[in-house]
Amino acid sequence: MSDTTDTGPVLAADGTPLKRSLRRALRAQKMRALALIAPLLIFVLVAFIAPIADMLFRSVENQIVGNTIPMTVEELRDWDGADVPDEQVFRAMFFDLFLAAEAKEHTKLGSRLNYEQSGMSSLFRTTGRRVDNMGKVFQNAFKEISPQFDDAQFWFDMMSGGAGAEGNARLISNQIGRLERLEATTFSGDVGFVPGAAISDILPNTARAYAAFAAFTHFVNEDVVSEKKPWEAVHAALAVDLEEPATAAALAAYDGPGADALRQAAAAELPPIDMKAAFVDANKDWSRIEYWQVIKTYSPPYTTGYFLNAVDMEKTTQGVALRSDDERIYGLLFKRTMFMSLMITFSCIVLGYPVAWILANLPARKANLLMILVLLPFWTSLLVRTSAWKVMLQQQGVINDVLVWLGLVADESRLVMINNQFGTIVAMTHILLPFMILPMYSVMQTIPPAYLRAAKSLGATNWTAFWRVYFPQSVPGIGAGSILVFILAIGYYITPEIVGGTTGTFISNRIAYHISTSLNWGLAAALGSILLAVVLILYWAYDKIVGIDNVKLGG
């Protein structure tokens, strides 16, 4: 070119230096590429990655205890676990359980804790039915002292401190928040009730219980608070407040609505408050320390309990320990899953290698024809193949019929080939075989046949030529196929469910069982997370060996 004498920076057509112009163009290109990817990336993140993250979160999440019985959890914090908790804890449990029973959430907590200690479910269920009666005693007592205590509007005025009184907005919003956590929803709008600041100072328990009642009445029952008589628990709370000597003194100086009735009640003889006795009377299991220990152990919002459970361990007072022999099922199941996946992978190698070899070494036309025999099963619906194996393997099935017809097996001693490990391994080997053959085939295609001939011409026997020359070159294909088959096998659900019976099932069947039947979602999530970790490690290895970009579909 003639302009080599120019010494300044090379300029683009618009006068900017070429370097900057190029950088700008590249940036624009980069942004365009990202803009093209972004919709899909967001889609996958929302529709797929978020669910996986949610599952991982659920495997450690344990907020149900703290959300259902928050005050008890608080009281139990200082409990040493040596003896049955004192009256304070039982009172907290009464108020917690009352609200939970109204919201019908106590049974959920019961079944959650039942995973850790059987018996907890019925404990919560039976006691939940009795909490009304525990409070009834106080309701009747107050009614006798003054009929005003049986009036909805009287309670409303008393607790709100009358029109124009200074309100305690924090208390009511705390109770709404608590109800939201309990019901796992969000509420918006105004309850139509704010506890009076003065009365909630004098009667803290009553104010809290009434605020909880008000929030529940407004949001869950969708009623007007001032028209509803308060719960038995509110009366019980009032009794608890009046038990304090200081309350009577404070009431003397109080002149809000209902002050007279309150003073009257404070002076009267009230039934003794013994929640501990009432609970033990409702269900004697409340006096068992180990039940309280379970509640305390599982009170934090996050727990390793599910993971420990998934590896056959449990939390005890002495720390983490293995479960007793007859309760260890997951270790066995993981071992079985591993063993069967390995067996399937191995069978696939044994059956796939000759087929891949012959496909790679036949002339193209014949190989393409035979390839159909590999691709047709690959493309056929999984359910079709599984049902085919069910048809073939059952005792009155095709294989047994043929064997009986040939006289190899007596009619009365037909082989049991289904609903056991054998059935699962055979069916899954068939289903996953194409995934082994295709990668092997694509590797073997690249091995020049001349190498084998060269080895033989140098005096190698057939076996030596194969073992020393051909086989080492085909190992990448075996590796790729094996990892692929193993990854697929380890997470299989449908086929083991149908042909596996009880002894031929995988860990995935157990996960499905916990999701849909036992409803122990946390344990299902923990088992899933362990399985996911195994698969991701294998996937990482696959990526190192083969590379994700080299995944081929359908040959």
Binding site: I37, A47, I358, L376, V391, Q394, I487, A512
Partner: protein, 396 residues
């Protein structure tokens, strides 16, 4: 290829041919014998019959009479088959006869050597054919389950196995009643409608998003390409049961569990990796200078995309779409958890049917599905050829 012979064929001595044929006959006789009471008699009869036949064919009549002798052997075996086992025996006898008629001359005339290198030892020849027999057996293993399902779906009885009537080829043993059941049962039809309502929409979602993203990913200037790729491929890697569990938990949190939209969303996510992989693979062969040429002639990016790029990568897009479609159409684990009874798809109904073993209608459905997969296979093969042709046309 096959016309060319590597080794000139020569007649084998009877001392080699007759014992081989005799052993084959004995082996076949073993099965026929055990089926009729005594394996030993079967072996002896099979061996003697084949020895005699071989001797007549090879020694007395010679290769000049090959054609009539072959037909004779087939006829003989067919008659024997009918006498032993009726109509099924006719078919089996015919097959045996055809095989032995071929086998006698194949061994006796030394034809088995024709396509093999002349220096191979006897052992190597034996291994060569033994290996092919092993491979044949594996192919049989691969294809039998699918082939067995088809005739069983025409069973007149509600059995999952061949009835004696079917084996006798009695027309009364066959019927289309399971197909009729499938086409008239409201449950199955609803399942089919659900499948057809979910799969195409899920496919459309994954193909449109996936193609755009694949084009973006094929640019050289994408940051974090590996990480993005790993995320996009992950639905294929994560075991279905884990995806299903996660989606069940998460979708029920956001109110999508048990809805049509939730199932479509889940299936679209599962189909995306297939679209990404196939379209990216097609784009590797795409000549980027074509887009630049289009741009230099004044086409805007949208026109360039639809008039230049899209027609060239269309085969990849369609085959990715087919993969996505079959993924959704075939999928059962995720829909089992994410869907509700209103979204019961065909595979779901098959799954519950298999678990509770209701009726062989499942086999009729299975046969129809095999037909669909054959169609898909053919379409994909045609697309692959077209794509290769297109790529061959574009320079570079």
């Amino acid at each position: 290829m096959s016309a060319m012979t590597l080794t000139p064929i020569e007649k084998k001595p009877l001392s080699f041919a007759l014992p081989t044929i005799c052993a084959a006959g004995g082996f076949a006789g073993l099965f026929v014998g055990t089926a009729h009471g005594s394996g030993l008699i079967g072996v002896v009869v099979g061996a003697v019959v084949l020895m005699v036949l071989g001797y007549i064919a090879l020694q007395i009549l010679g290769p000049g009479m090959e054609r009539p002798v072959r037909w004779g052997i087939i006829a003989l075996f067919t008659v024997a088959g009918v006498l032993l086992a009726g109509v099924p025996g006719f078919v089996l006898g015919g097959l045996f006869g055809w095989f032995f008629a071929f086998f006698v001359y194949w061994i006796g005339e030394g034809r088995y050597r024709a396509n093999l290198a002349p220096y191979l030892t006897g052992g190597q020849v034996l291994w060569h054919y033994a290996f092919r027999v092993i491979c044949g057996a594996i192919f049989v293993f691969l294809i039998t389950p699918i082939l067995v399902v088809m005739p069983l779906s025409f069973n007149a009885q509600n059995f999952f196995t061949f009835t004696p009537e079917m084996l006798r080829f009695d027309p009364a043993g066959y019927s289309l009643k399971h197909y009729q059941d499938f086409f008239t049962s409201s449950g199955w039809q609803q399942a089919l409608r659900n499948s057809l309502a979910i799969a195409p929409v899920a496919t459309l979602l994954s193909v449109s998003f996936g193609t755009l993203a694949a084009i973006g990913l094929s640019s050289e200037h994408v940051p974090f390409r590996r990480a993005i790729m790993a995320i996009l491929i992950s639905p294929m890697i994560v075991p279905l049961i884990i995806s299903a569990a996660g989606m069940y938990f998460f979708y029920s949190r956001i109110g999508l569990q048990g809805t049509y939209f939730g199932v479509v969303l889940a299936h679209a996510a599962l189909g995306i990796p297939f679209v990404i992989i196939t379209v990216t693979a097609t784009l590797v062969g795409f000549d980027r200078s074509l887009t630049r040429a289009a741009a230099s002639m004044g086409a805007n990016p949208v026109t360039t995309f639809f008039r230049v790029q899209m027609p060239l990568i269309l085969p990849g897009v369609i085959s990715g779409g087919l993969f996505a479609f079959i993924t959704s159409f075939d999928e059962v684990v995720v829909v089992l958890f994410v869907g509700s009874a209103n979204q019961q798809t065909l595979p779901w109904r098959m799954f519950t049917g298999l678990r509770e073993q209701i009726s062989p209608t499942i086999l009729a459905v299975a046969t129809i599905l095999v037909g669909i997969s054959v169609l898909l296979l053919i379409t994909l093969e045609m697309l692959r050829r077209r794509s290769e042709r297109l790529r061959g046309m574009s320079p570079g």
